[in-house]
């Protein structure tokens, strides 16, 4: 009993630690990446006691210090309580989403089997969406509470945009859920350990030599869903090219015009955390989560038959490492996007969401359903 609670607490702490640090690191990576893209030197001014080396560490410490020491300004005409609550509402959902994301298969310590996932919900994916939908409140309330026309506009835009893209997002995931026929993320991750040849119906046997050796990852089974989901996820993070709620050029800073200091830091961290969340979700749903191709619980089983046994601990470490690497890759991809793609116009965003992604997602669902029925 106590031990179980302890284990859960440890897992939760670990995940939280990882995510927050990753968010912090992202801040630095972003600066460096942008500098790289814009062909300049960036983020090299943070020096502690004249020691400017180790930019990462310095930035990690300097950024929070800078934010926390700034004045925390609350607009006098604004709503004190909500103005304070809003950043928490923005940060909270991004963090708790990780509770259901599996970062590894089971870890067996003696007779105890530990599921490498904070909370094993059988409705995991729905939980993710629920939390994602809660993310809107941070923006809307913050925008309203600061009683500022720009931020209000930003809030209105934000709420509209996030609701729109949640629809497309949910529908795009529907295909994946139909393929793996479960809502449990851990289950989805495990199913992606299979090879496609195990899924191929007898009718499509001729495809065996062509794609039979591929792992049954979502990206292979649901390529369209992957594109839609990734786009929607990026839109959910409200970053360029979807940063209409902030839109420096027209709304100054959108919903967090009136925020400064620690609260702005929370918004900022929330945004980074959302980036990580999006990456983790894409990984889990479409890129096998913690799966390493051909790596079973007892070692590698290659399609050409040869087997390479490994100790359990090594397997677990490999899985966690694989998960982390994939997540990092997608975080980097999003940063790349943010710095290389121009911003949409608002009506373009809406049209993309409602008139292109939504119909495509529906089409994907229908086609998937037809194929599944045909395969049976």
């Amino acid at each position: 009993m106590i031990v179980d609670l302890a284990i859960i607490a440890v897992k939760a702490f670990l995940v939280l630690f990882m995510v927050l640090n990753l968010a912090g690191v992202l801040g630095w990576v972003e600066r460096k990446g942008s500098a790289l893209i814009q062909d300049r030197i960036g983020a090299n001014r943070a020096s502690i006691f004249g020691f400017a080396g180790m930019g990462l560490v310095n930035t990690l410490i300097a950024d929070p210090l800078k934010f926390l020491t700034k004045e925390d300004f609350i607009p006098p005409a604004g709503d004190k309580l909500l103005h304070t609550l809003a950043p928490c509402m923005a940060l909270f959902p991004a963090l708790v989403t990780f509770a259901v994301i599996p970062f590894g298969d089971v870890l067996i310590l003696g007779d105890r089997v530990i599921n490498l996932q904070v909370a094993n919900l059988n409705v995991g994916i729905l939980y993710v969406f629920a939390m994602g939908s809660l993310g809107v409140y941070g923006i809307v309330i913050g925008a309203w509470a600061s009683n500022n026309k720009f931020s209000l506009l930003g809030g209105v835009r934000g709420s509209a945009q996030m609701i729109s893209y949640e629809v497309a997002m949910g529908l795009s995931v529907m295909g994946v859920l139909m393929v793996y026929s479960t809502l449990d993320l851990q289950e989805i991750a495990r199913d992606q350990g299979m090879l496609i040849r195990e899924l191929l119906p007898a009718g499509a046997a001729f495809l065996q030599p062509v794609i039979g050796w591929l792992p049954a990852w979502g990206v292979f089974l649901q390529p369209l869903a992957f594109l839609l989901f990734f786009t929607a996820a990026v839109a959910e993070t409200k970053r360029i090219p979807f940063d209409l709620p902030e839109g420096e050029s027209e709304l100054v800073a959108g919903y967090h015009v009136e925020y400064s200091g620690g609260k702005f830091l929370m918004f900022f961290a929330g945004e980074s955390a959302e980036v990580v969340t999006a990456a983790a979700l894409v990984t889990t749903l479409f890129f096998g989560g913690w799966q390493v191709p051909y790596l079973m619980r007892d070692g590698f089983h290659f399609p050409w038959g040869s087997i390479w046994l490994l100790p359990h601990l090594a397997v677990v470490i490999l899985q966690v490492a694989a998960f982390t690497l994939k997540v990092l890759f997608f975080c980097w991809l999003q940063i790349l996007l943010r710095w290389s793609v121009p911003r949409f116009r608002y009506d373009q965003v809406m049209r993309l969401g409602w008139k292109m992604m939504l119909p495509l997602a529906l089409l994907n669902v229908v086609v998937t359903a037809l194929i599944i029925v045909a395969a049976q």
Binding site: N122, L126, Y127, S133, L152, M162, I163, E166
Partner: protein
């Protein structure tokens, strides 16, 4: 009084408080946030009642969609003026509602739960069980509900569409 009951009582008090806030706070946005809180609490109660699917749906649909819509409209119209309640009317309505509560509460407290609750399996309330009954015996209501939603969409579009000439609020 075991742990579950304690947790329930805490949740219940919070729920009652938040719903009172919904009704009695004066700023609309505050009411909305209080309602969001109440809905989340109810979702937790659902999950504690072995209805995780419905609980999560509750968060998604209510907290995630409906309430955001409310907030959206509130900001859309942004009614600055605070309402002036008429005391007499307040009194009457309050008395009536308290009367309703006074009727219902004893009624429910006297309700005999009958034999001890069905010892439900682990699967109870899981998505597939819900889906089976939803697409099994309740498939017709399900279809009707879809039609209802379609009608709602069309109706909303027609109603909110700003006709030519008159520029509405916002």
């Amino acid at each position: 009084m075991n742990a579950a009951t304690v947790i329930f009582l805490i949740l219940a008090t919070l729920l009652v408080i938040s719903s009172l806030m919904v009704v009695f706070l004066r700023r609309v946005v505050h009411c909305a946030m209080a309602l969001v809180t109440a809905l989340l609490l109810i979702a937790i109660l659902f999950i504690s009642l072995q209805a995780p699917m419905v609980g999560v749906l509750q968060v998604m649909v209510y907290a995630g969609a409906i309430m955001v819509l409310f907030l959206f409209v509130i900001m859309f119209l942004n009614p600055g003026v605070l309402e002036q309640p008429s005391v007499a009317w307040w009194g009457l309505a309050a008395v009536l509602s308290v009367l309703l509560g006074a009727f219902l509460v004893p009624l429910f407290s006297q309700y005999e739960p009958g034999d001890n609750p069905v010892t439900s399996t682990e699967l109870f309330g899981s998505p597939d069980v819900l889906a089976k009954s939803l697409f099994g015996e309740f498939v017709l209501p399900f279809e009707i509900a879809s039609v209802l939603l379609l009608v709602a969409i069309i109706g909303a579009v027609v109603l909110a569409k700003r006709e030519h000439g008159s520029d509405g609020a916002a």
